[in-house]
Structures are given as C-alpha cells and as structure tokens.
C-alpha cells in the first residue's frame, strides 16, 4: 500500500477550482515531484495535504488513515513535515533554536518543568543542541550555527527550513520550491541534499520549478495544469507526454 494516497481531491475558493479531482499515490521512500505552470495548484495541493487548508471534496490517506481536514499540528504527530515557498523562519530566534523547534513533539514540553529547569529538561536540551547543530551541518549551514535567523541570507534560510523539518524526524517531507531564488550552485547543493534525505528513508514530496533538478532527482512526477492532473509518471515518461509539452510550451493550432 502506498504511504500517501490522494483521491478526488478538490478545493474551491469562491468560484475558483484551485484543485480539481486530483488523485495520486506516493510510495514510501521515493522522491515524488509535483510540477506545473504558475497557478496550476501545486502549493494549494500542498496546503491541502499538510492541513493548512480543508479540502472541499476528496480523501487524503496517510498509511490508510484519512487525514483530510486534520489540523497541521496533529499531522506532525503522524510524521509529516514541510517547508514553505515563502519563507516561514522564526526571525525572533537563533538559527539553532529554529531547528530545535522542529523537534517539538519529541521533547518534554511541560511548562513547570521548563520554568524550574528540571535536570531532565536541561540534559535533553543539551543533546538536542548537538542534534540541531548536526542537522545544520547536514544542510550545509555549519557557518551559521551561532547566527541569529534575521542575520542570515535568503539561500541559507531556505536550507534552515529543511533542517527544521528534518529535526522532526518525519516519515514524509513536503518541500515547497526548495530551490526557488537560489543560484545554480546552491540549487545543486539542495539537489544533493534532497537525494541524501530520500536515501535515509524519508519520503520526499517536492514542488519545484527548476526542471533540471526535478528531472534529476524524481522517481515519480505529477504534472498539474489549471488545478487538474495532466500526467503522472517517471521523468522520461512525463518529458515525452504531448499534453505536458503543450501545457509548458503551448500548441500550434
């Protein structure tokens, strides 16, 4: 059975059908990419699956459990993590603290134990600090371990979000345009990082505009256009699909 199964998913905003009857399945351990022209509904699809929006119709199953309309903080418990296209970094915290927040559910979050600084809390935090620093190394941010988030450049913040998501030790990671706004060198690094994450057993679902990256790292690709599913398959299959070519390049009439 697939890890993530989406069937007949629809989201209507007023009169706009942002996502219409989209169905697909993601097997565990693969890199699954969602592509499509601007406004195709990619981010909406992400927001539906990760609980930011409530679907108008359709089902979303994670491990066979229906998660449509479940709040984001509940989904985190089921092993779901994500990054955002428009950065959602906590600028009031240090880089390391941002990553530490990712481990929220794995910690003892008791208010009183925290306020009285129980030895168990202090010990766990010390270990977590190391874990977070290790994750920052993994995403190539070792230079920013002591930095405050608001002092970091854009490209670094994009990777900081990935580190934070990984701190949750997710089973499925949703990356919304991790390479957007990055230069080719940085894109190449994110490319390698995504592959590394997938190889460690985390299922990656990716929205990305950088076609080179998508074609490189995806096991499966879903193509959306005007909120509908246009095609699905491997990179080679999608590349040959006439509908996909038409959607991206236009058709001769």
């Amino acid at each position: 059975m697939a890890l993530l199964e989406v069937s007949n998913l629809t989201k209507i905003f007023g009169g706009v059908r942002a996502v219409q009857n989209v169905s697909f399945a993601v097997d565990a351990g693969i890199v699954y990419s969602v592509i499509g022209p601007n406004g195709a509904g990619k981010t909406t699809l992400f927001n539906l699956i990760t609980g930011i929006y409530v679907p108008s119709e359709g089902q979303i199953r994670l491990d066979g459990r229906d998660i449509a309309g479940v709040a984001p903080h509940e989904l985190a418990r089921f092993g779901m993590a994500r990054t955002f296209q428009n950065l959602q970094v906590c600028m009031n915290m240090t880089a390391l603290e941002n990553v530490m927040v990712g481990a929220h559910l794995r910690l003892d979050r008791n208010l009183f134990k925290g306020a009285l600084r129980f030895p168990s809390i202090a010990r766990r935090d010390a270990v977590l600090r190391e874990e977070a620093a290790e994750l920052m190394r993994l995403v190539g941010l070792e230079a920013f371990t002591d930095a405050h988030a608001d002092a970091m450049p854009y490209g670094a913040l994009k990777r900081l979000e990935i580190a934070r998501a990984l701190a949750a030790q997710p089973r499925v990671l949703f990356l919304d345009e991790p390479a957007a706004g990055l230069n080719p060198k940085e894109t190449g690094e994110v490319d390698i990082l995504v592959r590394k994450v997938a190889d460690s057993g985390v299922t990656v679902v990716l929205v990305e505009h950088d076609m080179k990256m998508v074609m490189n790292i995806s096991d499966q690709i879903l193509v959306l256009d005007y909120g509908r599913k246009l095609a699905e398959g491997t990179a080679a299959e999608v590349r040959r699909n006439p509908d996909v070519i038409a959607a991206y390049l236009g058709t001769h009439q």
């Binding site: 990760t50 609980g51 930011i52 709040a71 984001p72 903080h73 989904l75 985190a76 418990r77 779901m80 993590a81 994500r82 955002f84 959602q88 970094v89 906590c90 600028m91 009031n92 915290m93 603290e97 941002n98 530490m100 927040v101 990712g102 481990a103 929220h104 559910l105 910690l107 003892d108 979050r109 008791n110 208010l111 134990k113 925290g114 306020a115 009285l116 600084r117 809390i121 766990r124 935090d125 405050h148 988030a149 979000e161 934070r164 998501a165 701190a167 949750a168």
Partner: protein
C-alpha cells in the same frame, strides 16, 4: 553561553541586596517596593506580549481580580490572606482560560480591542459593586499574615518582594529557553511554521495567557496587602496601558527589559514631580522620544549597541 544568561540575574540580586542600605529613608524604600511589584507583573505580561506575541490591553483587570479577591474575601468573609490570594489567582486563571479560546482566534488590533473590553468589564464590576468593594472609594485591606507571622514595615516587604522578583526572573529565563518557551517564541515568529512542527498554537496561547493572568492576580493580592488599601484604579484601563508601556519601553521579549521598564516608569512620575502640572507632558515626551529612537525598547537596543543579543 547558558551560564552567561544568568549574569544579569546575579547583577540584579547584588543590587537588590545592597540597595536598602543605600536608601536614605522609607520613602525611597516604598518606591523600590512598588518598582519591584510592577517588575513582576510586567515580566508576566512580557511573556505574553513580547515572547508569545499576543497583546493584552486588559491586564490590569487580572491585577484587580487579585487585589479585590484579597480585599473582599479577607475583610467581608474572614478568609486567611493566603486562601484569598489563591482564590483570586484561581479566579483569574479560570477567567483567562474561559476567554482565551474565543479571544485568541483574533489577531492584532482585534485582539487588542477584545482584551481591552475584558479589562474594562472587570474594572466596571469593582467600581459598581459598592456593597462589596466600596465602589470608587475603594476599601482597606488587612496586613499580610501567614500563620502567626505578620508582614510589616517597608524593610520586610522589600526582602519578600525582592525574593519574588528574583525567583520569577530565574523561572522566566528558564522557561523561554525550555521546549515550552521555544514553542511560544516560534508561534510568535511564524504561527504556521510552529503548527507544522506540531505546536498546538491555541493551547500554548491559552497556557501563557493563563500563566500571566494568574501571576498578575497574585501580584495584585501582594500589592493590596502592601498598600493596605485598594481602589478601582488598580484594575482600570490606564493601569493596563501603563503595564504595556513598561513592557515596550523596557523591551519586548526581554526578560531584563521588563525590570528596567518597570523601574523607569515607576520612578519617572516621582522624578518629574518638579515640573508641577507639566509632568504628564514631560512623561509623554519621554515615551515618544524612547519609541522614536529606541523602538525595540531600552534593553534590546543597548544590548545590540554593545554587541550582545
């Protein structure tokens, strides 16, 4: 780094320890006690406003609940001060918990208006229930007696309030650097990001609102016992604004800023007494000056200037 976090705490402890020996008379000691009480309330409020990013313009209402629970329950019903104080804290906590769910669905200006309304309701109740509260004239409060010991004199009060402040500072420093505190700061930084890592935002907002309300109520009870008299002013809108101003001037999301803000704004009216009738103008001008040149508040601005965050 974790060690240096407490440097400020040690400095404050030393200052508090030597201060009474330097103050010439009880007038200054009284001023110091009022500063310390305000610092405690402002600290709790800063956890809510500065760290969690949720405004409350009705916080004096909770101070009022504590002050009047103490006054009414000890005077009219013969409760022991400790029981009355705890009852007030419980009342403030329950009220905060009840209103938190609907109120924190609101953000920004709307949240400000809702909390303002809450504070006003409490203020109006204590003003109008004259049979119990003495109405606008206020009512006397007996001395704070615990078991057979009765707290009296500025010296004793000073040490007790100093102890409370140091303890609260220590606990607050711990809290903001604990998993709970990081979640709280994260929901301020990006609510949606904190949600997707599993932070139940509504629960955390409720928890910190209740905590700061309970703390405000406890300090309201302490104030009532110390002053020996309560008036509805303790719960009114102007007191709420004063508390928020202390948070902002001292520095949002700054533990030590809470203390500095409370100390300065409690002292300022005294220092400006010489202006005779113009003191409110001077007061306002100083606040404007601070906000224009130090919008982040005193402590964060100075900390940044001297290369420390």
């Amino acid at each position: 780094m974790p060690r240096s976090r407490f440097t400020g705490l040690i400095v404050i402890a030393v200052v508090l320890a030597v201060l009474p020996f330097l103050l010439p008379n009880n007038f200054y000691l009284d001023l110091a006690i009022r500063m310390l009480i305000n610092a405690c309330i402002v600290l709790g409020l800063n956890l809510l406003i500065g760290f969690a990013g949720q405004i409350s313009l009705g916080h004096a209402g909770f101070v009022g609940i504590g002050a009047y629970a103490t006054a009414v329950l000890t005077t009219h019903y013969g409760w022991s001060p400790l029981a009355a104080m705890l009852a007030g804290a419980l009342g403030a906590g329950v009220l905060a918990a009840l209103v938190a769910r609907p109120i924190f669905k609101l953000k920004g200006h709307y949240l400000a208006m809702a909390t303002l309304g809450l504070g006003n309701i409490i203020s109006i109740i204590v003003r109008n229930e004259a049979a119990l509260t003495g109405g606008p004239d206020g009512m006397p409060v007996p001395a704070l007696a615990l078991f057979s010991f009765e707290l009296s004199g500025e010296k004793q009060w000073y040490w007790v309030v100093s102890g409370i402040l140091l303890l609260s500072l220590w606990a607050s420093l711990n809290l903001i650097n604990s998993p709970f505190g990081r979640a709280l700061r994260a929901l301020h930084g990006s609510e949606v990001a904190s949600q997707v890592v599993g932070v139940d935002v509504a629960k955390y907002k409720l928890a910190i609102f209740v905590l700061s309300a309970v703390f405000a109520s406890l300090m309201g009870s302490v104030t009532a016992h110390y002053v020996g008299f309560v008036t509805p002013n303790v719960a009114d809108f102007f007191h709420s604004i004063e508390l928020v101003t202390m948070v902002v001037i001292g520095g949002m999301a700054s533990i030590y800023g809470s203390v500095i803000g409370a100390v300065l704004l409690t002292a300022l009216p005294q220092a400006l007494a010489g202006f005779e009738g113009w003191e409110t103008v001077a007061f306002g001008a100083i606040l404007m000056f601070c906000m224009i040149f130090m919008p982040k508040g005193l402590v964060p601005t100075l900390a940044a200037k001297f290369g420390r965050r």
